[in-house]
Amino acid sequence: MSTMTTARDPTEEQAESKLDDAVVELSNVEFGYTASPVVEDISLRIDSGEYVAVVGPNGSGKSTLMKLMLGLLRPDEGTAAIFGEPSHVFDDGARIGYVAQHASASKEMPITVREVVRMGRFPHVGFGRLSAEDNRIVDDALETVGMTAFANRRVTKLSGGQRQRAFIARALASEADLLVLDEPTVGVDAESVEAFYDLLASLNESGITILLIEHDLSAVTEHADRVVCLNREIYFDGPTEEFVESDALARAFGTAATFVGTKR
C-alpha cells in the first residue's frame, strides 16, 4: 500500500514507457500496387508486449499492411516505423521473427528441418558460423514445436502442418522481440492449432510482442488481446471483448460473417 504513494504517477510512467516501447507505428499510411490504394488512412501503434490480431476478409489488405510494417513495402503516403526506425531502413533482423502463410519458400530444394530452423540464428551470427549455443537454441526450438524426431527430414517431404511447425521453430530460434505470423495455422491439424495458440500465449507472457494476421476469427477472439479489423481502412481497433460486441465485423466482412461460422 505504502509503495503506491511513493511511486510516480502511474499514468505518467506509462505514457513515458509507451513512447520508448512503440514496436510498430504507422501514421496515415496509404499504399497501392496500382493507382487504387489497397490500404489507406492507416494509423496504429503496437506497444511492446501486446498481442494484436489483424483480421479482415480476403483481399482486405492484411498481408499488405504486414509488409508495410516490416518494411518489405514502402508506403505511398505516410510513415511506417518499427522499433523506432523507419521500416524500410530497419535491418536488425534479430529482433523480428516471421512465419509466413504457406511458407513462401522454395518447393523442391533439398533442405532439412534443422537447416531451416538454423536460419533463425543467421541474423545473430552475421558472416560467422553458428556456435554451440546457437545450436542448443535450435534444438530447443525443435523440441518446443515437437519436431525433434523430424530434424533430419527433408522439409519438402513433410505435410503442410509439419512444415508450418518447422517455420514456427525458425521464428522461435530467432529469439525475436516481435513475432509476426501471417495465417500461421493454415494446413495445421486442429489439435496442433490449439497447442500452437497456447504456445503463442506463453511467448506473449514472457514479454514477446505478437502480431497475428488471421482469417480464422474464432482463433482471434479466443486468444488475442487486441483486434484490428481491416478492410482497406481500419474498421475497428481495440480490445477483443469490444470487438466481439461491435458491429465492425459485419461492416468489414459484409453481413454474412459470424464468429462461429468462419472457422476454416
Binding site: L70, L72, F90, D91, D92, G93, A94, I96, Y98, A100, A103, S104, A105, S106, E108, M109, P110, I111, T112, E115, V116, M119, F122, P123, V125, F127, I137, D140, A141, E143, T144, V145, G146, M147, T148, A149, F150, N152, R153, R154, Q162, R165, R170, L172, A173, S174, E175, V180, S192, A195, F196, D198, L199, A201, S202, L203, E205, S206, G207, I208
Partner: protein, 337 residues
C-alpha cells in the same frame, strides 16, 4: 577511355594479380608429372602440359559450377547461366575485335568477364524494375548477346572466323597458361565469396521474404549471385564452350537434388557428380578424340539419369520409418528465461 582500361588490364595490374597463379601452375605441372611417373597414364604425360592445364581447369569448373548452380537452380533460375554465356560470347567477340583493330593482345576471356558481368547486372536490374525474373527478358538478353557477338566477328571477318570454334564449343588444347591463371583468380573469388556469404545466400535462395525480414538486403545478394554466375560461365567456357557451359550449372545440381536430404549434402554431392563428369569426360574425349564439352555434358546427363533411380530407391527405403510427431510444448518456450 576503354583503350586505357584494356591497356591497364593487359599490363602491370594483371601481371601482379596473376603472378602467384603462375607459381601454382608450375606446382601443378610438377604434381601431375609425379602422378604420371606413378601411374603411367598417357593422359598426364609431361609432354602434354596443355592437358595438365585442362585437367586443372576442369577440376575448378567441377567445384564452382555446381556451387553457384545450387543457388540458381533452387530459385528456378537455371536459364540465367545460358543467357550469360551467350553475352560472354559477345564479350569474346569484343576482345577479338579490339585485338584485331587495335592490336591490343588482351585475352578475350578478360573482355568476356567484363561484358558478362555488365550483362548480369543488367538482367538483375531489369528483374528488379519488373519485380520478376522473366524468361522473356532472359531470352532477349541471350539473343542480343549472341547477335552482337556474330556481328562483331563478321565485321572483322579476316582472320577471326577461324578461331571462333574454340569459344563456341570449348577446347582442351587451347587452354593457355594465361587463361588458366585467369580461371584460378575467378575460382578464388567465387569460392571465397560463397564461403563468406553461404548463410545469406542460402536464406535468400530458400525464402526470400523471410530473408528480407531478417534484415538481409535481398537485392544486393541477388546482384552478387548473378555476378558470380557471370564469372563461373566465363571461367568454364574455355573447356565447355558457350553453348554447353550452362549445363554444368544445372545438371549436377539436379542430380544431387534427387539423392540428397540436406542442403549441405546436396552441395557436396553436386560437386562430386560434377567432378566425376568432368574427369570422365576429359578422359573419354582425350582417348576418343571427341569434343570435351559435349562428352562432359553427356556423362553428366548419364549420371543424372542414374541419380533419379537412386533417389526413387532411397525414397522407398526411407518411407517405412515415419517418426512420431511430438506435441507443441507451450510450457518450455525458449524466450521464457
Amino acid at each position: 577511355m576503354t583503350t586505357a582500361l584494356f591497356v591497364a588490364l593487359q599490363t602491370g595490374l594483371l601481371d601482379t594479380l596473376l603472378a602467384p597463379m603462375y607459381g601454382f601452375l608450375e606446382f601443378w605441372y610438377w604434381l601431375l608429372t609425379q602422378l604420371y611417373y606413378v601411374t603411367g597414364l598417357e593422359l598426364i604425360s609431361p609432354q602434354y602440359k596443355f592437358m595438365h592445364r585442362a585437367i586443372l581447369v576442369g577440376l575448378c569448373i567441377g567445384v564452382m559450377a555446381p556451387l553457384i548452380g545450387t543457388f540458381l537452380v533452387h530459385r528456378q533460375l537455371a536459364l540465367i547461366g545460358d543467357a550469360l554465356a551467350h553475352t560472354a560470347f559477345a564479350g569474346v567477340a569484343v576482345g577479338l575485335f579490339l585485338n584485331g583493330v587495335l592490336s591490343l593482345g588482351v585475352s578475350p576471356y578478360l573482355t568476356a568477364v567484363v561484358v558478362a558481368v555488365i550483362a548480369a547486372l543488367l538482367i538483375e536490374l531489369i528483374s528488379e524494375a519488373t519485380d520478376a525474373y522473366n524468361d522473356v527478358s532472359m531470352a532477349i538478353v541471350l539473343s542480343t548477346g549472341f547477335a552482337l557477338g556474330t556481328v562483331l566477328i563478321s565485321l572483322n571477318a579476316g582472320g577471326l572466323a577461324v578461331g571462333i570454334n574454340q569459344y563456341l564449343f570449348g577446347n582442351l588444347s587451347t587452354v593457355s597458361a594465361e587463361n588458366a591463371a585467369i580461371l584460378l583468380v575467378l575460382f578464388a573469388i567465387i569460392v571465397g565469396t560463397v564461403a563468406l556469404t553461404r548463410n545469406q545466400l542460402l536464406y535468400v535462395t530458400f525464402d526470400e521474404t523471410a530473408a528480407a525480414v531478417s534484415g538481409l538486403s535481398v537485392t544486393w545478394y541477388n546482384r552478387v549471385m548473378v555476378m558470380l554466375t557471370a564469372l563461373v560461365v566465363v571461367g568454364a567456357m574455355q573447356i565447355m564452350g558457350v553453348i554447353l557451359v550452362a549445363a554444368m550449372l544445372v545438371v549436377p545440381v539436379a542430380g544431387a537434388a534427387q539423392v540428397s536430404r540436406s542442403f549441405n549434402e546436396s552441395l557436396l554431392v553436386s560437386v562430386v557428380l560434377a567432378q566425376l563428369a568432368v574427369l570422365l569426360g576429359i578422359g573419354v574425349s582425350y582417348y576418343g578424340e571427341a569434343t570435351a564439352g559435349g562428352v562432359i555434358v553427356l556423362v553428366a546427363v548419364g549420371i543424372y539419369v542414374v541419380t533419379i533411380f537412386v533417389g526413387k530407391l532411397q525414397a522407398r527405403v526411407r518411407e517405412d520409418t515415419a517418426p512420431e510427431l511430438g506435441s507443441i510444448d507451450a510450457g518450455d518456450t525458449p524466450g521464457s528465461d
